[in-house]
């Protein structure tokens, strides 16, 4: 009876959705660590935006870390959603670095908003990465 229930449930699901879910990439402690570091750094850097020299250096460190996260994510198999999210996160961080490269006199408010965007996005990704099947 239980086997019949399982078979009927499986047949009721869309084939592709089922395959995607079953073959889902499992929990990766490195991936979780990197995204947690990005979130933590963004939280700390956001509070240092009044110091222009420090913020410029923070922007470079952050963009290196989001680049690392993108490169790490893109070679994980069956991880399309994760790759797209890592690319978008990296684009947010690269934008801040470019701003400092073009004109180091970045407004503290802009710096704060950029790090807040990175922090919020990293928190959303971290929430899902941490719940990957183990």
């Amino acid at each position: 009876m239980k086997q019949l229930f399982v078979i009927l449930t499986v047949l009721a699901l869309n084939g592709c959705a089922l395959y995607d879910a079953y073959m889902l990439t499992g929990y990766d402690s490195n991936e979780y660590r990197i995204i947690t570091e990005i979130r933590t750094d963004a939280y700390n850097y956001k509070q240092q935006c009044a110091n222009q020299l420090m913020s410029e250096s923070n922007a470079i460190i952050m963009s290196d870390k989001t680049q690392l996260f993108e490169f790490y994510s893109e070679q994980i198999p069956r991880n399309d959603n994760g790759v797209r999210a890592s690319k978008n996160l990296n684009a947010i961080a690269q934008g801040l670095k470019t701003q400092y490269q073009n004109n180091p006199a970045v407004s503290p408010l802009f710096c704060k908003l950029k790090f807040a965007s990175i922090e919020n996005s990293a928190a959303v990704i971290q929430h899902v990465v941490g719940r990957r099947p183990r």
Binding site: S107, L109, K114, S117, P133
Partner: protein, 85 residues
């Protein structure tokens, strides 16, 4: 569409019960207000709003992934039940 109309949409979303989108719309409205009083340049506002679009895309991708994770948990549970028979 005027800026006032767009801001009224933002206020409408900010007053909804969804905590994620309510906060999101409220933050965007604050950015617009700061731009209006000259605290942010137009280029800065454009960059921040583009970031907001990227954040929405991240939310969408992560929501799909969370759904797949839930489905994976169900499948694993069903397989465990079936194996126990």
């Amino acid at each position: 569409m005027t800026l006032d109309t767009l801001q009224s949409y933002l206020v409408e979303i900010a007053n909804t019960s969804d905590p994620t989108f309510s906060q999101f719309a409220s933050d965007i409205n604050q950015v617009v207000e700061q731009a209006k009083v000259g605290q942010l340049s137009n280029a800065d506002v454009k960059e921040i709003l583009e970031d907001a679009q990227r954040q929405l895309a991240i939310l969408e991708d992560m929501s799909q992934l969370a759904f797949k994770e839930k489905l994976n948990t169900v499948l694993t549970g069903l397989i465990t039940i079936a194996s126990a028979v």
